[in-house]
């Protein structure tokens, strides 16, 4: 099994980083559209609603610089991707002008989760049972879906920045 900070295969790592940048770009497009069409430009204005809706955030303790641990971090990254797949699925029903951006994001996160899982299987670090999405918030109005979109995209950006730093750390032999 992999040591706590041993490195990842170069080609897999490059693909992961590329995919992360792609998902970040997709997420930015969704944020820009929500801002342009619905003036929902600041996630800070929706924190209260976010609490009320109960939008879950993934734990990335295994990826923080203080406790960087490859197997734990990869598993947490994968669970986080599965969580975001669920959250993005729950947002289905956003207005037509946002649908292409949401669909691209859903597809790219789905791709990323599959790649990560298959690499974990090859590295022998995949958990016996794949993670599940868990309870998802219910967005009951058009506005809640838009607000949820802003919050999920914003949380996703923060998650990706942390994950990007963690994976780059695994690049150094």
């Amino acid at each position: 099994p992999l040591g706590p900070t041993s490195s990842l295969p170069q080609s897999f790592l490059l693909k992961c980083l590329e995919q992360m940048r792609k998902v970040q770009a997709d997420s930015t497009v969704l944020q820009e559209r929500l801002c342009a069409t619905h003036k929902l430009c600041h996630p800070e204005e929706l924190v209260l609603l976010g609490h009320a809706l109960g939008i879950p955030q993934p734990s990335l303790s295994g990826c923080s610089s203080q406790a960087l641990q490859l197997t734990g971090c990869l598993r947490q990254l994968h669970s986080a991707l599965v969580l975001y797949q669920g959250l993005l699925q729950a947002l289905t029903g956003l207005p037509p002008e946002l649908t292409p951006a949401l669909e691209t994001l859903q597809l790219d996160i789905g791709d990323f989760a599959i790649n990560l899982w298959r690499e974990m299987e090859e590295l022998g670090v995949a958990p016996a049972v794949p993670p599940t999405q868990g309870a998802m918030p219910a967005f009951t109005s058009a506005f809640q879906r838009r607000a949820g979109g802003v919050l999920v995209a914003s949380n996703l950006q923060s998650f990706l920045e942390l994950a990007y730093r963690a994976l780059r750390a695994f690049a150094k032999p």
Binding site: K39, L40, E44, E45, V47, L48, H51, A52, T140, A147
Partner: protein, 308 residues
């Protein structure tokens, strides 16, 4: 649910007032149920709201925006939360006008696409999503009685023309046609046309040739040109009359019209022209004596008259 805006209608007349209310519920986690409700119109905080506590303990705020002057406005129901302003709900209000009656409805029977193409003027912008539908029915006499209606013709988005395919048409019978415009604030209809498709047939232009001198054909006199023409092939079954127009290529003299002419001539000598002068010649035809629309003018044929 923390807050919910309710509107009497999502669409109002431009310039009209609108009253909205927002109710915040006590079981919204982290929210002080006595919070003061604030309103934003777009990104601007909005004065003039009234807040009251309902019998069941929920807070309700009502606001009236006196004049809605832009076609699309986002109304947000907010509360202060610590130092930040939190949005609890957001509603989109559209403002515009009901549609005016579409006008200048005109139709042409196009034998290339084999369809009746109708165009109209939509009238001033209503600022609202407005749908146009071309409606028609087959009729005897002068369209006072509706026999059977023809399938609605829905133009592609934003276009102000629509084509009724041949299979829906009786080419030699009357049909009533009009355009209906509809948006959230109402509907309106154009005046009704009553027409027979073939009587508004518009042909493609005829083809015009110079007649090269040959043993059978003597060269033209000075100031004359030898021509021949043929109507547009798919319209050969239609009796037509044609018109010719010519003008010197150089200079500003206007077109000279020659007609009516037969729709088909193997040899025609056009005289009365200036010798050794380059001329542009064009032709058009129309169904005749039965009614029809003139075709466009044919592309110019450039010919130079013989020297004196």
């Amino acid at each position: 649910e923390c807050g919910r805006i309710s509107l009497p209608t999502p669409t109002v007349h431009l310039g009209d007032p609108i009253t909205a209310s927002c109710i915040i519920s006590p079981n919204c986690s982290h929210l002080d149920p006595e919070s003061q409700i604030l309103w934003k119109l777009g990104t601007e905080l909005q004065p003039g709201k009234r807040q009251r506590r309902l019998a069941d303990g929920r807070q309700e705020s009502t606001i009236t925006v006196p004049h809605l002057n832009s076609p699309r406005v986002l109304l947000s129901c907010c509360v202060r939360w610590g130092t930040s302003l939190q949005i609890l709900d957001q509603a989109e209000v559209q403002a515009g006008y009901p549609p005016t009656a579409p006008h200048d409805l005109s139709c042409l029977m196009n034998l290339t696409t084999n369809s009746l193409i109708c165009r109209w003027e939509p009238g001033p912008d209503t600022h609202l999503s407005t749908h146009f539908t071309l409606k028609s029915f087959k009729s005897r006499g002068n369209c006072q009685t509706q026999e059977d209606s023809i399938l609605d013709c829905v133009p592609n988005n934003g276009q102000n023309h629509c084509s009724i395919p041949r299979r829906h048409l009786l080419l030699y019978q009357n049909m009533g046609i009009w355009v209906e415009a509809e948006n959230a604030l109402g509907t309106n209809k154009s005046p009704q046309l009553c027409l027979i498709p073939m009587d508004v047939v518009k042909l493609e232009p005829p083809t015009l040739w110079a007649l090269a001198p040959s043993p059978e054909v003597a060269p033209p006199q000075p100031g004359c040109l030898l021509l021949r023409w043929e109507p547009w092939k798919p319209s050969l079954y239609i009796e037509q009359k044609c018109e010719l127009r010519h003008q010197p290529q150089l200079g500003e003299t206007s077109w000279v019209l020659v007609g009516p002419l037969l729709s088909q001539t193997l040899q025609y000598e056009l005289c009365g022209l200036l010798p050794s002068t380059a001329y542009a010649l064009q032709m058009r035809c129309t169904r005749w004596p039965l009614p029809g629309q003139w075709s466009d003018w044919s592309p110019s044929l450039m010919l130079t008259t013989a020297q004196r």
